[in-house]
């Protein structure tokens, strides 16, 4: 047995649950009389809903297939070797489950080496090799093709990416080394770094061809046939494949520098993967492939044994799995159909909600408000947004007509809501107002209708308390911008029944939102944590630490924006309002900053001015600030803020606000945009020892978002 085969055999013993991909070898005569050809098909035996992946046993199968074709090529029995995938899928890379279970550096190193040893054989056969990207190709799937002499891509291919950096890895089976050598460093950086950090943006077949990754593109209807005819022409020398000359001078360094700039702007140095990938791309300039492969192996092993990748995979699984099967949601068979939606209020938030319900549910949506002008404005907003979608070509005229016909506005709630199944209010955040609105709605709505509230901080139970049927009230808390942020906190009031809750989760799914079940606790999840986080920053500033030091203190977390920029986005007045609400609930932990109150009172929309193009403290705000004399270092700032966050999450879990720490992280990722490499926040708090320091124990068991014990 070869050393590669032994390595893979040992690795596969660590991963008995692998969904094993077969590498079928089939022989046939190429068209044009070109000669005998061997085609390898990667297929895990499942349909396209379970995409083909590479674990150690899968790599071993590919290795065995290559043994066979290598011999046939050497013996002159075949003139070329191809590799393609099952219908709709080429291959989507390493099996992440196999990465998660790795506990030792040596094993992690073996994963990288194993892939390299197998894949690079495709570039060392006695005959040319061809990859036919017939369907989705990601990570190691892309990379196996990069080792081939030629590539074709299907115009129908929906998704092609090197998502490793997104997860916390590097494209380490040749991607970092081969791609810049194939298409040049600038394009390689855009694929490996930019797309990955841009929420794992996918390329389509046409882009793969235009980037020069594939040498030819063919339509989906007869992609493989045309690829094989093309192959025959290439092998007969009838087609010359030209590739651009790559600038191995300054241009290379500039491309890498640009990549670092992108990485800095996205993760602020907080996650290592992008930088490790860039180091390898930088070194690939000399064209020494083996040196690049060795660097990839080492980077993979380091990252696999580091916390960021584990957090990344944890976060990925939260979003992909837990986000789709919310913890604690009642059986979906209890859900009632929703065939008409009512929206109380026709302001901006209400209009945005109306648009969302309209687009996703495609049922009649009725807006009501206190005067005709507001109603008209709300409906007008929805119509204008539909026209924008039409203008961008996102919907066609028929769909626009349909949606516009479905939205209406009335003054009379009885007229609007008498046959509505789901009514959501988005009126002023004042408990008395909301109680009044619900009472009016209950008087006219059908008995089965769900009454939902988009409140961000009021008690859902209290809102329901004066109704005849409080069991049908649920909290339905969206995040701004509603069309962008995936999170929806679904709040169960004291009396909310399972059918109402199931209906709410059913609606959330149709809205394509990530629903998380929360208890009816003050400010629910995201706002509570963000308010505690911001409150602590505010306290630190109030006590005397300069604004820029306070801001810089949390920069290493790599959050999407600094605390004060976030405050500006939310609006200082709203921030203040929420802090007051939480202060009333938990006066010992939530403070109301006098400086913030002053800023709000002065009518300022934020702390910064952007006259120079960069945020600078507004001198008028600076003049308002009254600070103490306790000045912290950046590190002290960070410790204090993280301690506060860890304490708050610990208390929330004790109170049962959500089922598990996982839900907190899912909320922070999908509702606040907190990054994958932090795993939301609890994996990071555990990793940095904050949880232990504050709560005496980690939030997550070893191995959940960390290297297993």
């Amino acid at each position: 047995m070869s050393t590669t085969a032994e390595l893979l055999k040992q690795a596969s013993e660590l991963f008995p649950d692998e969904v094993v991909t077969s590498a079928h070898v089939r022989h046939f005569d190429l068209p044009l009389g070109a000669g005998r050809f061997a085609l390898i098909t990667l297929d895990n035996g499942h349909d396209h809903t379970k995409p083909t992946t590479f674990g150690p046993a899968s790599l071993a199968n590919l290795n065995t297939a290559i043994d066979q074709v290598e011999k046939e090529a050497a013996d002159g029995e075949i003139i070329g070797v191809g590799i393609t995938g099952k219908p709709f899928i080429f291959a989507v890379g390493a099996d992440l489950k196999g990465v998660e279970i790795l506990k030792e550096y040596e094993h992690a190193l073996a994963i990288g080496k194993g892939g390299h040893e197998v894949f690079k054989r495709l570039s060392q056969l006695a005959v040319p090799t061809f990859a036919y990207y017939n369907g989705a190709a990601m990570g190691g799937g892309v990379e196996v093709g990069l080792h081939c002499t030629y590539r074709t891509v299907s115009a129908a291919l929906p998704a092609f990416s090197l998502p490793e950096v997104f997860l916390g890895l590097v494209p380490g089976w040749g991607g970092c080394t081969l791609l810049p050598n194939l298409i040049g460093p600038e394009k390689a950086v855009s694929v490996i770094i930019e797309n990955s950090l841009n929420q794992n943006k996918q390329l389509g077949g046409k882009q793969v061809y235009e980037l020069g990754i594939a040498d030819a593109i063919f339509e989906g209807a007869d992609f493989l046939e045309q690829s094989l005819i093309w192959t025959a022409a290439v092998l007969k020398g009838e087609l010359e494949i030209e590739r651009p000359v790559i600038d191995r001078g300054e241009g290379w360094d500039q491309a890498v520098a640009k990549g670092r700039f992108v990485a800095d702007s996205k993760v602020h140095g907080a996650a290592p993967a992008a930088y490790r990938a860039l180091d390898i791309i930088a070194a690939a300039k000399n064209g020494d492939l083996q040196q690049g492969y060795d660097a990839e192996d080492k980077a993979l092993a380091d990252l696999i044994m580091g916390g960021e990748l584990r957090s990344g995979i944890y976060a990925f699984n939260l979003v992909q799995k837990r986000g789709k099967r919310p913890a604690g949601a009642p059986d979906k068979s209890l859900a009632r159909p929703v065939t008409k939606v009512g929206v109380v209020g026709a302001g901006l938030m209400a209009s945005q909600l109306a648009l969302l319900f309209l687009r996703r549910l495609e049922v009649p949506v009725v807006l009501t408000d206190i005067d005709q002008e507001r109603v008209d404005k709300g409906v007008g907003y929805v119509h204008a947004e539909i026209d924008k979608l039409l203008g961008k070509g996102r919907i066609n005229q028929d769909k626009a007509n349909r949606l516009k016909a479905l939205v209406s506005g009335v003054l009379d709630k009885a007229e609007g809501f008498s046959d509505a199944d789901f009514i959501i209010e988005a009126v002023f955040e004042e408990i008395g107002v909301k109680q009044q609105v619900f009472a009016e709605v209950e008087a006219v709505a059908p008995a089965h209708a769900i009454l939902a509230t988009n409140t961000s901080s009021l008690s859902v139970s209290e809102m329901a308390s004066k109704l005849k049927h409080p069991e049908r009230v649920v909290g339905f808390h969206f995040f701004n911008p509603v069309a962008v942020l995936p999170l929806l906190e679904i709040v169960r009031g004291e009396k909310t029944d399972d059918a109402s809750l199931a209906t709410a989760f059913g609606v959330a799914k149709k809205l394509k939102k990530t629903a998380v079940l929360t208890k009816d606790a003050p400010a629910f999840v995201v706002n509570r944590i963000l308010t505690r986080f911001m409150g602590e920053i505010q306290n630190i500033i109030d006590e005397g630490t300069p604004v820029e030091v306070a801001e810089k203190g949390v920069e290493p977390l790599g959050l999407p924006m600094s605390p004060l920029v976030l405050l500006e986005l939310v609006g200082p007045a709203i921030g203040l309002h929420v802090s007051e609400t939480l202060n009333r609930a938990f006066p010992d932990r939530f403070t109301v900053s006098p400086n913030l109150a002053a800023v709000v009172k002065a009518g300022k929309r934020g702390f910064y001015v952007y006259d120079s193009g960069k945020p600078e403290l507004d001198p008028e705000v600076a003049a308002l600030l009254k600070q103490g004399d306790s000045v912290l270092t950046e590190e002290q700032v960070r410790d204090r803020v993280l301690d506060a966050v860890a304490q708050e999450i610990g208390i929330m879990l004790d109170e049962g606000v959500v089922a598990e720490a996982q839900d907190i992280d899912l909320c922070l990722i999908t509702g606040a945009g907190w990054p994958f490499h932090l795993g939301g926040i609890t994996p990071y708090l555990d990793r940095e020892g904050v949880s232990e320091r504050v709560n005496g124990k980690p939030f997550l068991a070893q191995g959940v978002a960390s290297v297993p014990a």
Partner: protein, 405 residues
């Protein structure tokens, strides 16, 4: 409104390689509609001068219009092939003469002036849709003795034809079959067949049938070159004890698709499209269903009469070899020798296979190629027998004809 009947031409034709029906066949895991799509796309690739928007119709035949052969396959295959949505399509069924009827139907519309150019073809995946799938014959057929019970079983009708013509012995049928295999092998060796085939990628997941994974089909699977009389003499006669019809002297159960372009001659010439054959006449005829193999004779009589031709004017014959006996009955009727070199020069369905509703266009594609090679021939015909007692004949003129020399 005065009208002028327009000349109709066969512009081009292609087909998939034919496969053997059943779990071991090359197309076992390939959809029927996909086979049609590959053929249509090849037709368009071969004729890049044709703007697909100008195609007026897609007529696709299938005998069993269920599942992947259902859903108005002429329309769905057009969309799947990437034709503009403005191009309509429909389905046709005349069993074995499906594709032939697709051609004559659109040809009639072209002559009338309704279309300028149309796609006509057929498909039959007899592996996915065995003969008789889902049929529900009216009980009156039997109770009122409208047809003999054997009429529904094509092999039995072939035995009946042997009864009618006792001079057509099993020996003659077998000799004919051996020649068909020989001629087909020779045509392959000379590259006459491959030029009109579109390669088809095929997937296999079951190892019992051979190597698994994706493969490429570039040749007909049913071919049995080197077949001898001895090979054939021992075969079973599944339709009758001590019968004459065997798997060796009949076409098999097959999968495949064909497609052709039919246009007005003016349109073809204006758009620099090939003119491979000119339509002279076509005819269909009914006979007793229990001897359906006799059908080509009255159909040909009618088509000749329409054209004002006699059988001696026909220089090339493409006769579908559903059964050797049915070809021999035709030849005997016209006094043509069993091995006449004008008949099925490239061999026939006994060698290539006969995916029912697709075969008509195969006959035409082969006749077109023979016309090109033999400019001394002016007329040729394509003819086939059809289930439930029918025959179908199309007479074509060779546009390459150089005059009587």
């Amino acid at each position: 409104m005065p009208r002028t009947v327009r000349d109709v031409v066969f512009v081009d034709g292609v087909r998939t390689p034919f496969g053997k029906a059943g779990p071991k066949g090359i197309y076992h895991e390939t959809r029927a509609d996909d086979l049609v799509v590959k053929a249509i796309r090849e037709l368009l690739r071969r004729n890049p001068g044709l703007d697909p928007k100008k195609i007026d119709e897609v007529a696709i035949a299938a005998t069993t219009q269920i599942g992947d052969q259902g859903l108005t396959i002429g329309r769905t295959a057009g969309i799947l092939a990437g034709l503009p949505q403005s191009v309509p399509g429909y389905s046709i069924d005349r069993m074995c003469a499906g594709a032939l009827t697709a051609v004559t139907s659109v040809a009639g519309s072209v002559a009338f002036g309704a279309y300028d150019i149309a796609i006509a073809g057929g498909v039959e995946h007899m592996g996915r849709h065995p003969m008789g799938e889902g049929v529900d014959p009216n009980p009156r057929f039997v109770s009122e003795k409208l047809v003999d019970e054997s009429a529904l079983f094509m092999g039995m009708t072939a035995e009946n034809l042997h009864d009618r013509y006792p001079q057509i012995t099993k020996q003659r049928a077998d000799e004919y079959a051996v020649r068909s295999q020989e001629k087909a092998a020779k045509a392959y060796a000379n590259g006459k067949i491959q030029a009109d085939l579109v390669p088809v990628s095929v997937r296999r997941t079951s190892p019992e049938a051979g190597e698994t994974g994706w493969g490429l089909v570039t040749a007909d699977e049913p071919m049995r070159p080197g077949t001898t009389l001895e090979n054939l003499s021992g075969l079973k006669t599944p339709f009758r004890v001590h019968g004459r019809v065997t798997a060796g002297n009949a076409a098999g159960l097959n999968d495949g698709a064909t497609a052709s372009l039919i246009a007005s001659e003016d349109f073809a010439r204006e758009h620099d499209l090939p003119v491979k054959m000119r339509l002279v006449s076509y005819s269909f005829a009914g006979v007793e269903p229990e001897v359906m193999g006799y059908g080509p004779i009255p159909a040909t009589e009618k088509a000749l009469a329409q054209a004002g031709l006699s059988i001696s004017d026909i220089g090339l014959f493409e006769i579908n070899e559903a059964f050797a006996v049915q070809v021999l009955a035709f030849l005997d009727h016209y006094g043509i020798a069993d091995d006449d070199e004008r008949v099925n020069q490239y061999g026939g369905a006994i060698a290539f296979g006969h995916p029912l509703a697709s075969s008509g266009v195969r006959l035409m594609t082969q006749l077109a190629r023979q016309f090109e090679e033999q400019p001394h021939v002016r007329y040729g015909l394509t003819t086939m027998c059809v289930g439930f007692g029918m025959g179908a004949t199309v007479i074509w003129e060779n546009p390459h004809f150089e005059g009587d020399k």
